[in-house]
């Protein structure tokens, strides 16, 4: 009888065939988990985006900053509620609602004007106070804007691409799922 270290040809073949059901994690997910690793940027720096699903807290060892992953709970577009991002293929304004801890983030994506003029990303933090800045990264750039007294913020016009929004407050960072804005999506 063979051992796990010394399988027969038949056992190897069975293992290989069974392994067809193993699934690679998406590249973006692997990269983000790598970004969580030890020796990374200080907790107070702009950290890479995090996965897009159910709210979860990443309390890094010794980190002073609590990181919360927002989850998408509503989307007026055609994408299913738990889609990993937005493919903005429609016209007009698309509204997305995210939840994270005691916060809700209302996000709007709208055409900036004529076709090809880009996209406006605007939104509002609802619920508990405490957030004061929004960071938008993607396309090799990062922009930061303060939240208004009403918790509102806006960016744009932005080119098509993958964008990552992060809301930051004292000791807290909320990461939203990545947002893919398609180049072919013509404003209405």
């Amino acid at each position: 009888m063979s051992t796990p270290q010394d399988p027969t040809d038949e056992e190897l073949e069975q293992l290989l065939r069974a392994s067809r059901t193993l699934q690679d994690a998406p590249d973006w997910l692997v990269e983000r988990v790598i970004a969580l690793g030890p020796g990374g940027a200080p907790a107070t720096a702009a950290l890479p985006s995090l996965p897009p699903t159910a709210a979860a807290v990443i309390a890094g060892a010794g980190a002073a900053l609590r990181r919360v992953l927002a989850r998408l709970v509503a989307d007026t577009g055609s994408a299913p509620p738990l889609a990993l991002g937005l493919r903005a293929a429609g016209v007009g304004t698309r509204q997305l609602l995210y939840a994270a801890d005691d916060f809700a983030i209302d996000l709007h994506v709208s055409a900036a004007g004529a076709a090809g003029a880009g996209w406006i990303l605007s939104g509002q933090s609802l619920g508990a106070p405490g957030l004061n800045e929004v960071r938008l990264s993607g396309e090799d750039r990062e922009q930061r804007v303060p939240l208004s007294d009403d918790g509102e913020f806006g960016f744009g016009p932005l080119p098509a691409g993958r964008w990552q929004l992060t809301l930051v407050g004292a000791g807290l960072q909320i990461d939203l799922p990545p947002l893919d804005i398609a180049a072919e999506a013509a404003p209405g």
Partner: protein, 201 residues
């Protein structure tokens, strides 16, 4: 155990060495560890019936827990088992959360179709028994061993055993530019290489 002659390279650091480097803040070691086990950790929630979105949640939480516990793992050489166990625990936690939500939501409408019944959409409440987790680890191990074969042997094994649906011999021979009659001996040689590679992962 001494690897046989011409065994595949053992240049890659083992898990214990990677964990030790991670503890010292080596980001390259962390990246290597994540890439080494990404497929295994992601498959655990998928095999439990969770959606891609929930699987992503379990995946990142499992590795985040590893970051938290890097300095407290008693046996760094068993980090693979640690990750699998953690991923399974996160799956169960997520499923329990879902169940509570469904319970609170109450029964589905009487006139709703079966597809609208949230209970019907729940994965198995007790997924991934230990034997299945062990099998997953062995499957992942053989796939990592496969990555250590030379390109030609790897291509042969992939076409021969990983293609779904299976390819006829004639198609495999055509793709690799070999005679159909040589497939049998090639198969034996490649499996032997793979068996030796398994000793190194």
């Amino acid at each position: 155990m001494t690897p046989p002659d011409s065994a595949p390279s053992t240049a890659e650091p083992d898990d214990a060495a990677l964990v030790a480097r991670c503890r010292a803040g080596d980001r390259l070691a962390w990246a290597a560890l994540v890439r080494r086990y990404q497929r295994l950790v992601y498959t655990v929630p998928r095999r439990a019936g969770l959606s891609e979105a929930d699987a992503a949640d379990v995946f990142q939480t499992s590795f985040a827990r590893l970051v938290e516990h890097l300095h407290r793992i008693d046996d760094p050489g068993r980090v693979r088992a640690w990750l699998v166990t953690t991923a399974r625990r996160e799956c169960l936690r997520l499923l329990e959360q879902r169940r509570r939500v469904v319970d609170l939501a109450g029964p589905a409408d009487d006139d709703g179709e079966a597809d609208d019944d949230p209970l019907a959409r729940l994965p198995d409440p007790a997924p991934l028994p230990e034997a299945q987790l062990q099998a997953l680890q062995e499957q992942d191990r053989v796939r990592r061993a496969l990555q250590r074969l030379d390109a030609r042997s790897r291509a042969f094994v992939e076409l021969m055993f990983l293609h779904d649906p299976p390819l006829p011999y004639s198609e495999i021979a055509a793709r690799l530019g070999i005679a159909e009659g040589s497939i049998g001996p090639t198969r034996a040689r490649c499996l032997d290489k793979l068996r030796r590679a398994l000793c190194t992962v």
